[in-house]
Symmetry: C2
Subunit: 235 residues, 2 copies
């Protein structure tokens, strides 16, 4: 189909499609004439993947390009698939590795990994990223928030176990790689959204007097207009 039809079917503007083509995220269509190209179902699927990575996952264009390159790697079977697909997803952070606060934070994460007996490739960027976050809590005088660390680690294990099982259940390598990508990026967006909803629930339960709580559950929304769930001063 032509680009206009691809735009219609995917709900993506022609300008966006041209941007994705120019940025190398979307492969060119089959040339059918001067300035004309034909796009198929593979392009439609790729467009959905691009928008999921950019819009839902919030990835920068450059990161999305690297991630899609992994999807397109033909010899995926020779990779340690899960690792290969997710390595492209790590952001690089300006950090001062000589900073004693950061070194202490990293030691704390290494200790956690040891305590939980996790098998990790020694160059796991995740260790440094976790250390960045721990160092930020400490630098901001919020070290008390680090009491979450073991709860986080245990929840991460529970989640990772089911995620990896679901990816492995796909059996075919191409489906697995795309499963890792979507499971990591879209799954992260999904979990983060649920975490914020759960935080709202947890704070309502703690800060709103029981008599002022509306019936629980979303369908109760008709019973109370926006913003009346409670206020800190009334608690």
């Amino acid at each position: 189909v032509r680009i206009a039809e691809l735009s219609r079917r995917s709900g993506t503007s022609i300008a966006s499609i041209k941007f994705y083509l120019r940025e190398g995220l979307l492969p060119a269509g089959a040339a059918t004439g001067r300035n004309q190209a034909d796009y198929g179902d593979a392009h439609l699927h790729r467009l959905r993947l691009i928008r999921a990575l950019l819009d839902v996952g919030g990835l920068p264009v450059a990161t999305a390009r690297e991630v899609l390159a992994v999807v397109d790697t033909p010899d995926i079977a020779s990779h340690f698939v899960l690792g290969a697909a997710s390595t492209a997803l790590y952001r690089t952070v300006r950090r001062d590795v000589g900073d004693p606060v950061w070194r202490a934070a990293r030691a704390e994460i290494v200790e956690l990994v040891d305590r939980r007996d996790w098998y990790l490739s020694p160059d796991s960027a995740g260790i440094d990223l976790a250390a960045d976050a721990v160092a930020a809590f400490r630098a901001l005088g919020q070290a008390d928030m680090l009491a979450v660390l073991d709860t986080y680690a245990e929840a991460a294990e529970t989640i990772a176990a089911i995620e990896v099982d679901l990816v492995i259940a796909k059996a075919d390598p191409a489906g697995m790689v795309e499963g890792v990508i979507t499971g990591t990026v879209i799954g992260e967006a999904l979990f983060n959204a649920l975490r914020r909803l759960a935080q709202q629930d947890a704070s309502a339960r703690r800060l709103v007097p029981p008599a002022d709580l509306p019936p629980a559950g979303y369908t109760a929304e008709q019973n109370h207009p926006a913003g009346t769930t409670g206020s800190l001063t009334s608690g």
Copy 2:
């Protein structure tokens, strides 16, 4: 202190500090003469917060500005603090609310919220964000990955309970707001990093033959060079 000293103490370049001043993230110092200003401990703390939000949390500058405005709101006690601070953190996504796939995804999240009896403000942006992710899984033919949904929700509850308890334990409203901000943004970065580490562990345990597994734990890294943790083909 002068800007050069602020730069040295915070490990942030003068160019970055000037950028934060220009973007309204960092308040101006006290003017001490033509083109000179004096910066204090509050500026140093604010700089750490800005870098945590941008570098560790990965927030866009515009979002960081909104979040910092919440921190600076003087009448925080009159807000439903946790809600106010975190509403600024929601990304806006291009979405087609008329799309039947998206509407079904949203219904699925509403059902989940009802099933778990969560108290939510009816305008919770988190519901739409979670629906975006569910719709993306379905559009990409990865609906099987949605088997994670209840595990995610339960883990989110466990995490949110301890996070909110820690914030409430701070008692003073200013500390609470900054605790919500850092707990949400830095905590998210920390959890996401641990989730990826746990995924590496889970995939090593499932895909690498037991005989090929190195000793668990990070300190075992000396025993095996990078990249030898295993490969899919050997599994």
